[in-house]
Point group: C2
Chain length 404, copies 2
């Protein structure tokens, strides 16, 4: 299909929903058509041909403004594409618009709503990205995760979210929050689509066309904080595990010990510390244009004592390595993506509690939508594995996807 | 001293030398004066008060263009400061101008010359930064290192260069080359100045005011490729080691085995792979404006097979960790910063061979100027240590600085 036809059809779908969803920070028919014409003229053909792609509004784009969900950067027009965006275009992906992010990809929500029920949040920080893919507006969308900003919205919106291992994709042209946490990833409707997408951004053939390894070795991980989750979410995790076992997977139970909470705290300390440092300019020069919660959060981050930060870094290294070693015996760890269904929009974008530690450890995480909860909103499971075992995790996720 | 007085004096010094050195990509009296007035009016007083700071031209600055040493970005005016620049200004450092970088901080040289002899290179990629600090134009300057872009120019220009552990300083607002290699650091005339400077950019009190630990345990590291260095450089390394021992340091000999060359190759593979990915936009959209050597280098990087990259990543992890463990027994490893004196400018910016592995490992590295070579140009030694032992390395470097 010519890119121009694709662009027109995508615009029809998106605009029909946009008043209800508010998924886009920037959407311009002429720009998208110009890009489609360029691609058709150059006969660009690649693994993303036929895909429309929404770009989270913290990735620089040369033809569309990049506001980072903040009035500080309203209308800011970068003069280049982020490296990930350039890779998407080179692979034939048609960039269709900029998807709404929470303020600087932190917690302060934008206007985006959940396509399954607009009274509910799509999750954050990659709010617009997850919402538009779930609504069929774009077939792929970029995201970033510092705590739970890919897996959580994927869960709330009922689509596949894939956060690869830390540093898999160049962050050139990305507005940073957490220097050692921010990880570029994305959303799609199948594991295969999401893996191809991440493989393209990373320039990694082993992810675009991963081997099928057969029935995986799975560990169902009970963390000390599972009691915080909804019962139906835990029941679904167990149902998925049983189903996997019945289809031939080796499934064992694993439990994270008391050190889990040390890792959780370490992630929170490091994230706040790094956020205050990465947003030093905005804090110093445009503090009055930051939301009150973000300003308070950055003030707290700036006040963290060096000793507390160094302790957190050491916990990450020592306890984190032990946990990575423990899970390294499995193809994937099955665990919760979120507490349950998407909360109502007025309460915020949800809680990344079940994602923080995995982001800290730097291994890959994939959300698989598997069911709906009591309100009819999507729920599912998270698959994670040790750092730099992405191809293997994709294979396990694909297996599970077809087993369900 | 009021910032305005400082600015005027700095401009006098810089302009007297600039026709000879070409250290600055951008220098504007009115902008610097306006910034000095702002600082005086706000009575900003901090650990960098009294310092003039040159910013490598790959850090975004809100009041000065950022061209990255490339015609692609000539005149590009960012609308924010990089996080590191914001931290410098908040600490009282007076940003005086943008220092010339090689093209995208790779090897293609700008016009900058060595202040000790203008027929010679100042080194790269932080060419202007090292040259202006050596010439007394600015008292501090930012740098970045992907292979040897801080330690090498510090050595050639006879000043202190300090590359902290990977991820010590937020790269927000920095134009990236190597996602897992690029490290922000800087230049000063003493270890104390450089440490304060890095501590400010990192927001780390333990670096701005590190403890003095007394005589260090040092290892003199002979790598299998030392034969590539000049004899006088090796003789100087031995002289420094003997001097340290005579002053009370425990000095032992250590040798890196055959695995050294595997690490060296891994750094080169990862750097080329990551460079091609980080510069995806420039390569795809402005290829004709890249220098021929950089274009060829990025083509090679793009052609690296995924398997070769994954092997390099595994070498980095496994062999690298073993080497970090081995050097972890010492406060600092004493080794070569460069092959010898600065080569002549027409031959390029010199060779980062003795820096690559240390950047790959992610630990801190400090160059200490200690002598001059046969042509009267500066030489010195490099101190390195295991990742995240920066405060300890600073202490060792300070001790050695006063022992010499």
């Amino acid at each position: 299909m010519p890119a121009i036809t694709l662009a027109k059809a995508a615009f029809e779908r998106i605009t029909a929903d946009e008043d209800r969803l508010h998924a886009y920070a920037w959407l311009d028919f002429d720009t998208a058509i110009a890009e489609a014409r360029r691609m058709d003229a150059k006969e660009i053909n690649g693994p993303l041909s036929g895909h429309t792609v929404a770009i989270k509004d913290i990735f620089d784009t040369a033809d569309m403004p990049t506001a980072c969900g903040s009035p500080i950067y309203e209308g800011r027009q970068p003069n280049r594409d982020a490296a990930a965006v350039a890779a998407i275009r080179a692979a034939g992906g048609l960039v269709i618009g900029k998807a709404i992010t929470t303020e600087f990809a932190h917690l302060t929500a934008g206007p985006t709503r959940n396509p399954h029920n607009v009274a509910h949040t799509p999750g954050g920080s990659s709010s617009g990205s997850a919402a538009t893919v779930a609504a069929g507006g774009a077939t792929l969308a970029t995201g970033t995760q510092t705590a739970g900003s890919i897996i959580r919205p994927a869960s709330f919106c009922g689509i596949v979210g894939y956060k690869p291992s830390l540093s898999t994709i160049s962050r050139s042209g990305l507005t940073l929050f957490g220097e050692t946490l921010d990880t570029i990833g994305g959303f799609g409707r199948t594991v295969s689509d999401a893996a191809t997408f991440i493989g393209v951004m990373a320039g990694r053939e082993d992810l675009t066309t991963p081997k099928a390894n057969g029935a995986p070795r799975l560990a169902v991980l009970a963390t000390p904080d599972v009691a915080d989750a909804e019962e139906y979410a835990l029941a679904e995790l167990n149902r998925v595990a049983k189903r996997a076992a019945s289809k031939g997977a080796c499934v064992v139970d694993l439990s994270a010990d008391a050190e889990w909470s040390a890792l959780l705290e370490a992630q929170m300390t490091i994230m706040a510390w790094e956020g205050a440092r990465s947003l030093a300019y905005e804090r110093a020069m445009h503090g009055s244009l930051l939301s009150e919660p973000l300003r308070a959060y950055l003030d707290e981050g700036a006040a963290i004592k060096t000793e507390a930060y160094l302790t957190a870094a050491s916990v990450r290294h020592k306890i984190g390595n032990r946990l990575c070693e423990a899970i390294g015996a499995f193809d994937a760890v099955l665990t919760l993506s979120a507490h349950g269904e998407a909360p109502r929009a007025e309460t915020g974008t949800g809680n990344p509690q079940f994602n923080r530690v995995w982001t800290l450890l730097g291994g890959p995480a994939i959300h698989l939508p598997t069911a709906t909860g009591p309100k009819g909103l999507p729920i599912g499971v998270q698959l994670v594995s040790a750092p730099n075992t992405d191809a293997n995790l994709i294979s396990a996720a694909k297996w599970l996807e077809s087993a369900l």
